[in-house]
């Protein structure tokens, strides 16, 4: 199953460079076989439809009829549209706020659930897991009821305590806060589980050694735990960022991208300008740009990750 590349130096005779590193054997076939299924699926269910989408982006296709080639017109229109930039900045703002919050919350909760000191872990785990099971539509409704401006629970408590009710739905920034809270609440379990698996993977020997050396809990956390779960941290941050940029269903259900259009995120922009108006060509163009934006974010994070690991 393995294919080895013959090292010509070896065959040729006496070694010319005595201090050379052990020969690098290229295993060609094994990774191909292992990744094979995903390669095929990638081609059929991503490249093929994606290619169609890319093709549409250069046309004025409306879902029916013929698609006429119009070159870069869709892209020009896109770059000249101020609502696109508003949607983009709003989505970036959302990501910048929610990703660190999500990271801190899920890591803290995972640490607590892995710790030997905490009682009642099994029940707590279930509590943290439940929100993730609820569909975004129902979650959006629950948070809308809780933070409803007129009759929501939170404002009810606030007025009971004597303060003025807050404009959770008609103030753009407060509305964004509600979305951040709802998104964190719903997504924590996912990242929490990933962190738990990673935390369990850190060899106990390291902790034991550190404790003997007199390190306290916070130092142990900073110098052993964090570095050991670095690959997982990278995964969580990257996935959370991508997820935040693609947020749609929950926001729709919570406040319809409101108030007005002030919290319209990117996917909603694509959906409304493209699909609702049956302008498939334009929607495809915007999606391609979204793909490029997300790819840049991913590459950026990977570059940071590689620099930190070096």
């Amino acid at each position: 199953m393995t294919a080895t590349a013959i090292d010509p130096e070896r065959l040729a005779g006496p070694r010319k460079r005595p201090g050379k590193a052990p020969r690098r054997v290229q295993y060609r076939l094994a990774p191909l076989v292992l990744a094979g299924v995903n390669i095929v699926l990638f081609g059929v269910f991503f490249v093929w439809p994606g290619g169609l989408g890319l093709a549409y982006s250069f046309t004025d296709y409306t879902g029916i009829g013929t698609a006429n080639f119009i070159g870069l017109e869709n892209y020009e229109r896109l770059f000249g549209d101020p609502t696109f930039y508003t949607a983009l900045t709003r989505t970036l703002l959302f990501a910048v706020i929610s990703v660190p919050l999500m990271y801190v919350m899920s890591l803290s909760i995972a640490s607590l659930l892995v710790s030997n000191y905490v009682k009642g872990k099994s029940a707590a785990k279930l509590v943290f897991f439940f929100p993730w099971l609820i569909s975004p539509i129902v979650a959006g409704v629950i948070w809308r009821w809780m933070f409803g401006e007129s009759f929501g629970f939170v404002n009810y408590v606030v007025t009971r305590l004597g303060a003025d009710p807050l404009a959770w739905q008609t103030d753009p920034d407060l509305a964004l806060m509600v979305v951040v809270m709802a998104a964190t609440w719903g997504g924590t379990a996912f990242n929490m589980l990933i962190f738990i698996a990673a935390l369990k993977n850190v060899p106990r020997a390291y902790y034991e050694a550190a404790e003997i050396d007199g390190a306290n809990a916070w130092q142990r956390f900073r110098h052993i735990t964090l570095p050991s779960i670095a690959p997982t941290s990278f995964l969580v941050i990257l996935l959370s960022s991508l997820g935040a940029m693609k947020e749609f269903a929950m926001v729709q259900s919570l406040n319809s991208g409101g108030p007005g259009t002030s919290n319209t995120f990117l996917i909603q922009y694509i959906y409304e300008t493209g699909f609702k108006r049956a302008d498939v060509g334009y929607a495809s163009a915007v999606s391609m740009i979204l793909l490029v934006i997300l790819l840049s974010i991913a590459m950026l994070q990977m570059w940071v990750n590689r620099r930190r690991a070096a």
Partner: protein
């Protein structure tokens, strides 16, 4: 341990497969059944299951099975579109809009319509003089009031034509109720362009009409007055801004008992009957300033061409006979598209009588939205889609992002974008 787990999971999966064999693997074996017709609709169960009951009755009478698929509303049109592209269209359906993709695959329903006396102003002919579809039921925009609050404040509301009020009088009335009872809001309205059009009609505007030059235009004076009025009452005092601006649920707000009036439609009657217990509600006549109007809607019946179209037409004919149609209207709380029927709505009789009266007294503009949508589709001037510039711009207007002239201009621009006359 892991192997055992995988084995268990695998066995469970294998066990589940035979169970779902009826669904998945064995699926499609009903296509060859000559006595089954497939009927796609949405929301029947939500409205009392009238269609299902009629299907059961039809089976008893004729032995033909009408197989109903109740499909989620928001994705119904997508489903139909995909089915059209994959040769999977049903035999008949009750749709909310005609899609250009499959509009040429419809049977002509003119005979059915004329035979059973469907209201003339609801029938639209396509380019070939056929009537590919008509409404199975009517819905209309209407007003609800919180009777308990109104009575408490000692304010009356009109239930007969001679008592009709104007919008100005109506707003003063709800303000009075609000002040006297400490209610939170005077009025809530569904964040829907359908309701907004009704309001515009009542101000004398005809909405946005397509002219022969293939552009949209509107009566600037009346439309401006209507939209300005709308923007003014969205002030968090009379109307909560959160409904139009953030999608807050007006139905829930009204049910809290803290709102004096609710501008919605006939489909709420059954819901209110079942779910409002803390206060009394009633239907009231809508304001007119200067004219009475409403906005009509409903589900459209279509029969697709194919092997089963004869059987489907038979079912449709049977459904629209006076006896059966009366029955389904009673079960599902439909307003009839056939006049002259005596329908017993039980405890909701007062409300539905009011609706029927409103429809009869309303300006013909009330059926404009539905009819012109059909006409435009038949003429091939639109490619479908769910664009709603009136709603989108009204949201911005209510949010204070723009003024009325800009709103009107944007609406016209967006509407023109989606139209192409050849």
């Amino acid at each position: 341990m892991k192997r055992r787990l995988i084995l268990t999971a695998g066995t469970a999966g294998a066990a589940a497969l035979p169970l779902s064999a009826c669904g998945f693997i064995g699926g499609g074996d009903d296509e060859g059944d000559a006595d089954t017709i497939k009927f796609w609709l949405s929301g029947d169960a939500n409205q009392g299951g009238g269609f299902q009951k009629m299907a059961d009755k039809y089976f008893e009478e004729t032995g033909v099975t009408v197989d109903i698929d109740d499909i989620p509303y928001d994705d119904f049109n997508t489903r139909l579109r995909n089915a059209a592209q994959a040769d999977g269209l049903p035999d008949l359906a009750r749709v909310s809009a005609i899609d250009p993709i499959w509009m040429n695959q419809l049977e002509d329903l003119s005979d059915v319509a004329s035979e059973h006396g469907v209201m003339e102003n609801l029938l639209i002919e396509n380019e070939d003089g056929e009537i590919p579809t008509f409404l199975t039921d009517l819905t209309a925009v209407g007003m609800y009031v919180n009777k308990t609050l109104f009575d408490q404040a000692g304010v009356t509301y009109p239930t007969t034509a001679d008592q009709i009020w104007t919008w100005d009088a109506f707003i003063s009335a709800v303000k009075e109720v609000k002040a006297a009872t400490g209610a939170r809001y005077g009025l809530v309205m569904d964040p829907s362009s359908h309701r907004l059009r009704s309001l515009m009609y009542q101000f004398g505007s005809d909405g946005f009409l397509l002219g022969d030059d293939c552009t949209y235009s509107t009566d600037e004076a009346a439309t401006t007055e209507a939209l300005q009025f709308f923007a003014d009452i969205n002030d968090d005092d009379v109307m909560p801004r959160s409904v139009w601006v953030s999608g807050d649920d007006p139905n829930a707000l009204f049910k809290s008992g803290q709102v004096a009036a609710y501008y919605s439609g006939s489909w709420q009657v059954a819901d209110f009957q079942a779910n409002i217990a803390d206060f009394e509600w009633a239907s009231a006549l809508m304001p007119a300033q200067p004219r009475r109007a409403t906005n009509l809607g409903g589900g459209y019946a279509v029969v697709f061409k194919g092997d089963k179209s004869k059987a489907s037409l038979d079912f449709v004919n049977w459904l629209f006979t006076a006896e059966n149609y009366t029955e389904i209207c009673e079960i599902s709380g439909f307003l009839p598209v056939i006049q002259g029927l005596d329908i017993d709505y039980g405890t909701s009789q007062a409300s539905f009588d009011l609706y029927n009266e409103e429809i009869a007294a309303s300006d013909p503009i009330s059926s404009e939205q539905g009819n012109s949508a059909l006409e435009i589709t038949y003429a091939g001037q639109t490619s479908g889609g769910d664009a709603d510039p009136l709603k989108d711009e009204a949201v911005k207007l209510a949010n204070g992002e723009q003024d009325v002239p800009t709103t009107i201009a944007n609406i016209i621009a967006s509407l023109n974008e989606n139209i192409s006359c050849e």
